[in-house]
Amino acid sequence: MSGVVLDVRDAAVHFRSRGGFLRKAAPPLKAVDGVSLAIAPGETLGLVGESGCGKSTLANAILGLVPLTGGRIEVAGRAVDSADRVSLSAIRSDAQMVFQDPALSLNPRLSIGAAIGEPLLVRGLATGQALRDRVASLLKAVGLEPDHASRFPHAFSGGQRQRIVIARALALQPKLVICDEPVSALDVSVRAQILNLLVDLQRERGMSYLFVSHDLSVVRHIADRVAVMYLGRIVETASMSVLFGKPRHPYTQALLAAAPEPDPVRQRAKPRRVLDGELPSPANLPPGCAFSSRCPLASDLCRSERPTLSARPDGASVACHHAEE
């Protein structure tokens, strides 16, 4: 597929616990297992799921920070190989990342100008005055003062720090920015500012976002399409309006039901759907559908045979034996 910024095909990341002296090797932990997705230029894909479902592992695998066990990931047509330094360097100028906690994603001993300019400096793309000019324009682009470049991260608030992190991610003019829970560490009052900044930057620069979050209300604000992940697999993908209007997978329905409504009257009127059962360990998944242990619709078929993603006429894909048409 050409013209796709990110193409993930059947990607798998398994973590093997090494057997050691007098220790038996445990079965591999399947953090990501058979995930396929694609992002078009300028598109925002929301990746949602509860913690531990493999969202961040997938994000790390796209940037080659975690080796793939199987499948293939292509960023702007170039295959990601975590062992190939040269191609990784090229991939990381096409895809960059915004991290969850802005307090931890900036080196406290480095001025923010040095942090933002580092990708340019290390790659030899700009030095001296040219570098300072680039840093100043990046700071301006994220709504900060250019003369703040010599200050250190501790002098900024959480929201400002996240702006700095975004500026650093934009320094190489990437085609894809992976946002790994970019607002979940921020105060609610600054979340909207950061989300609006991301939307504005996308409008100006036309890059794509892979927006990883556990918060549906945040994803709803920014995503064009949504992929729902459960224990290493994608269980449903659909455009924003279809997913929120007509969720098909019982897990998606439960996620939507769990998201609080701002209006208390509507919140009380909302059907409650509490999931029973335990989240299985990703190191020991049930043989059939991973969700079968908690699913209200689970049948014997679900417990023995794993459902595959099947396309629906409105563009959605669902992996469920019982999802209503």
Partner: protein, 288 residues
């Protein structure tokens, strides 16, 4: 704001104790540098008639021994002033050697992991299990006693402490998102270690170094006492102390004066080290 200018504004706001300690350390450094000019006598000149004179003793010729004389009739004050050279040089040099080796190996182990980590950290364990004195005796037997041997022995036996601290700190820092961000930016190897990890683990290393500084002077003393360190007649605080020990009941000044100097030097280094650690951290900049 440059680091030097920043430090200057901080120093101007430092509490009196820091100013006093800085002055004290400065005085010791100057004393060591200008020892030949400051010492009233030749530290090696013996005068067996003037053995074990108490402080302030004035001879028939009108010479005053401000700190008294030792068992060979040498002027104690001159020996203490000259001794500052050997003691401080040994301490500074051996702390530098062990800090360099220890932090480099510790960071490498914490960053590379895998077999590098196993090899380095097991070697650290082995080093820690060998008594330093035994190693010193071995080294001296092979190379012969002297100044360089002393520095090498101390430098090469004390690095595991720094390696442990650097290793633990690196493990902690290496998993932080800003290190991953630096990797994504394209930083690798030396740049990552020196620019991103080292500044963030320097505080604890500095504290170990200042604590070790005092220990090194004491180690120099005990090795010199065993005849493995500074060779007589060159004075060092350690050799003066160990020689004076035999005359403790008769001549208190032989241990009191070099002991007091040692105490004050180690105190000033430790207090200043703590203060530096707190204030090199950009999170604790002076307000305004």
């Amino acid at each position: 704001m440059s680091l030097a200018a920043n430090l200057r504004t901080r120093l101007s706001r430092a509490p009196a104790s820091i100013i006093i300690m800085a002055g004290l350390l400065g005085a010791f450094v100057l004393m060591a540098l200008f020892a030949p000019l400051l010492a009233p006598f030749d530290p090696a000149r013996q005068s067996l008639i003037q053995r074990l004179r108490p402080p302030g003793h004035t001879t028939a010729q009108g010479l005053t021994y401000l700190m008294g004389t030792d068992d060979l009739g040498r002027d104690l004050m001159s020996r203490v002033i000259h001794g500052a050279r050997a003691s401080m040089l040994v301490a500074v040099a051996s702390v530098s050697v062990s800090l360099l080796i220890g932090s480099a190996l510790g960071m490498l182990a914490g960053w590379r992991r895998g077999w590098v980590e196993v090899a380095i950290m097991r070697f650290v364990d082995i080093m820690l299990s060998i008594p330093a004195i035994l190693l010193a005796v071995l080294a001296v037997a092979v190379v012969g006693p002297g100044f360089q041997t002393l520095i090498l022995v101390l430098g090469l036996t004390r690095w595991p402490r720094y390696a442990r601290v650097a290793y633990a700190q690196t493990l902690q820092v290496a998993t932080l998102p800003y290190i991953r961000a630096a990797e994504l930016a394209g930083a690798r190897g030396p740049r990552l270690l020196l620019r991103h990890i080292l500044p963030n683990i320097a505080g604890p290393l500095l504290v170990v170094a200042t604590a070790e500084f005092g220990l090194m002077i004491l180690f120099e003393a005990s090795l010199s006492f065993l005849g493995l360190g500074i060779q007589p007649p060159t004075p060092s605080w350690g050799t003066i102390l160990s020689a004076g020990r035999q005359y403790l009941e008769r001549a208190w000044w032989l241990t009191a004066f070099p002991g007091a100097c040692l105490f004050l030097l180690v105190l000033s280094v430790n207090v200043l080290g703590d203060w530096l650690r707190d204030h090199l951290d950009p999170r604790s900049r002076p307000r305004g």
